[in-house]
Symmetry: C2
Subunit: 280 residues, 2 copies
């Protein structure tokens, strides 16, 4: 396996950063993560859009422009030659002279085989607990998962598969995925504020809007408890039904029809994306 540490591709085993990097000193950095199959990067432009937006918001200049970054991603993917993988693009605060002021950002490309539970297993659905929290800069994919990782133990204690963030009575997102509900009258709703705008979230919003009334707005915790269906969206897991929230069964407690329809639509959209563009 190889990795890219700007400006070169090197063996992953040798991919290190000096301890003065601001990710190690102060947890400062952004990243993005996309899915690759047989050399094709799904929805590449969406991920690049978000990566450069995150970098701009956090005031981290990216050392490669968009076309050079895409070319380097493709070069690394060809070199590693893995059938199904995920590719992380990390941009850190760089080597800091005083341990606080950002230096020249370090850009990393890290590819790894995808280990996703099979779709049948995911369709059994997730049991979810909730936690009051808003990420530091919610619109940006920062590397800060202090709370998400700290909650792993609470999830284990409560035998939960995921933890849903909420604030002032409204739910927002999971640490690494977005959240949707389907109301009894088949409205599809996802939270509009305090969330990262996921690429799968965007695709599901588009797909849902051609079939159902689709809303980006507020979702109160009570709306969740009385929803007909709920699900999460993520790059790797696509759509996973949420069948329990805080020990309240959602809908029938099984994967709902709308969730399954949207999952099939999403799989079809991925196939379309793969057909339309040969990116690698």
């Amino acid at each position: 396996m190889y990795a890219y540490i700007h400006p070169e591709i090197i063996p992953l085993a040798n991919a290190t950063l000096h301890v003065s990097d601001l990710s190690i000193q102060r947890g400062y950095g952004i990243f993005d993560f996309c899915k690759i199959k047989n050399g094709h990067i799904y929805f590449l432009n969406d991920y690049l859009d978000r990566f450069y937006q995150s970098a701009a918001t956090m005031r981290l200049p990216v050392p490669l422009d968009r076309s050079d970054l895409a070319a380097m991603m493709i070069q690394l993917i060809r070199k590693n030659n893995i059938a199904e993988s995920g590719l992380k693009v990390i941009l850190t605060g760089g080597y800091s002279a005083d341990g606080f002021q950002p230096g020249t950002p370090n850009l990393l490309l890290l590819q790894s085989p995808l280990t996703i539970p099979p779709q049948e297993q995911l369709l059994k659905g997730y049991k979810v607990i909730t936690h009051e929290y808003v990420r530091d800069v919610p619109g940006v994919k920062t590397i800060n998962y202090t709370t998400g990782i700290w909650l792993l133990e609470k999830m284990r204690q409560e035998s939960a598969d995921e933890v849903l963030y909420h604030s002032q009575g409204n739910v927002s997102e999971f640490p690494r995925s977005n959240f949707f509900i389907v109301t009894k009258d088949d409205q599809v709703i996802t939270a509009s504020s305090n969330v990262l705008k996921g690429v799968t979230r965007k695709n599901v919003l588009k797909l849902a809007s051609s079939r159902f009334k689709t809303v980006e707005g507020n979702i109160a915790l009570e709306d969740v408890y009385k929803a007909k269906e709920a699900f999460l969206t993520s790059t790797t897991k696509r759509i996973v039904p949420v069948i329990e929230v805080d020990h309240n069964v959602i809908g029938t407690g099984k994967a709902g029809e709308v969730s399954k329809i949207l999952l099939n639509d999403l799989i079809a959209l991925e196939e379309e994306d793969q057909m339309s563009k040969k990116t690698a």
Copy 2:
């Protein structure tokens, strides 16, 4: 210069972590920072207390017990032999197999020369702006400074020296230091919640209580604006008067008498600590 990357002391230039470390992947880790002069670590036991508490809260086992860690700090300090320095003890989430679950934590000791502005300059005081924010796990010295570093640009734009966090009308702390006010009737107050319990904060509370009415409680923003004095406390800067908050002059706009008395008391306490224990 040398650094300690558990389990060995190595040249600082070679001190690296593999990119799978959870600090780089997810900004997950804790640290502490103490001050050293002529081989003496000031208030060592207080820093060790807090470091092990932070580690326990974030569920990161420390690979050295307390006496071995102290011994290793002293060994590194002797080897580097710098007159005045700061020593950072960092504990990261370790090399993570899946980029999210913590591995075996990596322990780093990083020493660097102290570059503090001279006391006369600090006594001119800081101009401060405010920002609504509570750190992720406020009682713990995590490495997450996403918001603090992101605010550097806002500080530059407003020619501010520091940014004071507040939430729901109450002020709490600075990104890297604590906050005190002195009321018109000479009460010394520091925030009790949403703060890191600084070692200098603890020392100043103790010193203040022998001279003044001293309170850990709520400080509303309006209390700050009408305070007679305000100051910050930090390991490196000790006590720095706060002379302006959001462009409102505090007190006379100059270092106040109580701030100066407590600074002198603190310097005396440091000397006492240096005399009483030969730690290195």
